[in-house]
Symmetry: C2
Subunit: 266 residues, 2 copies
């Protein structure tokens, strides 16, 4: 119905850390990576969170690496005994781990500047799989790395974000995913029938429905996504007409402005 589409670029995220699964630390990395990838036209297709456990990490990274264009991991590359990500990723791909000269150089300079001893534990952060490319860490020097299609980053959000910013120019984006959001005070169950019919007519547009509760009133956000602007606008116009036919007033929402509304009941 449109020009042949470019291949879909997909990604998965693997979060490594007992502290997320115990509830002690609330993950902030999925939301960040999800927004960044979406903006680049890369479709985040799956996220997994696993414990600091060798078998679990190796199994997850192997499956995700085979299945998606890119894999991004967070966590487990620090100096302590529970930081086992580097060893596990290397093992998953049959790579040896070496003390990387460039990583040693960066860490040596970093700790010389800070006056902190560059001891054996900290030198562990220079251990990188053979054949991997380094990911810059402008916050605390200890680099991440890229092995095959897997991008290994720190778990601390500020460091992960700095690492990802540096990575972005190296990633191949896909067709930009455009989106439209139409809000209305018509209930989700009321628009559901007509909305499903619109979806059938626009298989190339992904239509989602999300109830919300805002300023004391229930309503529904209808979110349309697609790569073809004309098709997206045509589907959105159908949605506006549907809302009006049900006695509601469709309100076009700037996607930036609707964040943080509390989503509520159907």
């Amino acid at each position: 119905m449109t020009d042949p589409s470019p291949p879909t670029i997909t990604a998965a995220m693997l979060i490594i850390g007992n502290e997320i699964l115990s509830g002690r630390t609330k993950d902030k990395n999925v939301g960040y990576i999800a927004e960044e990838l979406t903006a680049m036209g890369i479709r985040l297709s799956e996220v997994r969170v696993v414990r600091d456990d060798e078998a679990a990490i190796i199994e997850a990274v192997t499956v995700l690496s085979e299945r998606y264009t890119y894999v991004f991991t967070s966590g487990g590359i620090g100096p302590t005994h529970d930081d086992i990500t580097t060893a596990c990723i290397a093992k998953a791909f049959g790579a040896a781990v070496e003390r990387n000269p460039e990583a040693m150089r960066r860490l040596t300079a970093h700790y010389a500047n800070s006056g902190v001893e560059f001891n054996a534990a900290r030198q562990k952060m220079a251990e990188i799989p053979v054949g991997a490319d380094l990911i810059d860490n402008p916050v605390s020097a200890a680099p991440g790395f890229i092995l095959k299609n897997v991008h290994v980053m720190a778990g601390v959000p500020r460091i992960l974000q700095a690492m990802f910013e540096g990575l972005k120019p190296m990633l191949t984006g896909g067709a930009e995913m455009l989106s439209r959001t139409v809000a209305c005070t018509v209930g989700e169950g009321t628009v559901a029938g007509g909305l499903g019919q619109i979806q059938v007519g626009f298989p190339d547009i992904e239509i989602g429905s999300y109830p919300y509760f805002r300023a004391g009133a229930f309503g529904t956000s209808l979110v349309l996504r697609g790569t073809d602007e004309a098709r997206l606008e045509a589907a959105t116009e159908e949605v506006r007409k549907l809302v009006r036919s049900l006695g509601g007033e469709p309100i076009d929402i700037d996607d930036g402005s609707e964040k943080g509304v509390e989503e509520a009941a159907s």
Copy 2:
């Protein structure tokens, strides 16, 4: 080294929804479920987030159901075309879906009270796999359900939390996981060596190290978890001694009070 431990009760969470993977909606359910399960002595071992895609949902729920004691899902049980969770879970276990009489009764009463039409789309929310038990929804009536060891809940945090509260008495908890947190201003790389040695001596205690940045100062939170109070205290005392030997002052932190600190560089 202690009495034979009771079997470990494990769990996985499966989050279903394109809106999480696009970054539009920030997940709040993992943190909640993780804290609740940890408090019940149930070990959350894995989390997956998948798209509103039949094959992805079926694959994930099948694997997780075989691997863990309990599975909890969130999302995709509303009235619209993109709500496909119920059909997928049923298909994963070879169950048929029926219009459940008790679910119909609850929804009929709910919509009669609210004056909203109980139309075909809303009746879809009464479709439940044959043989499943209902999960009460005190917020918006539409029930979740339990099929085998899979607990299917709504994605809206307020509803998920209300559903989970009702579920709790039905879950078998494990040995309570006790935890101690010792904070110090000693760097993570400085404690790493000694900490690893303590971990070797206490294989029954899980020791984690988390750098933080708080009130303008860097520091390290050392978190110890275990089910045996005496062993946990013995390991914690070793950690306090280690911190002191490195010139630091160990501070016992009430686990409730350290939430929300920004975790920072190693």
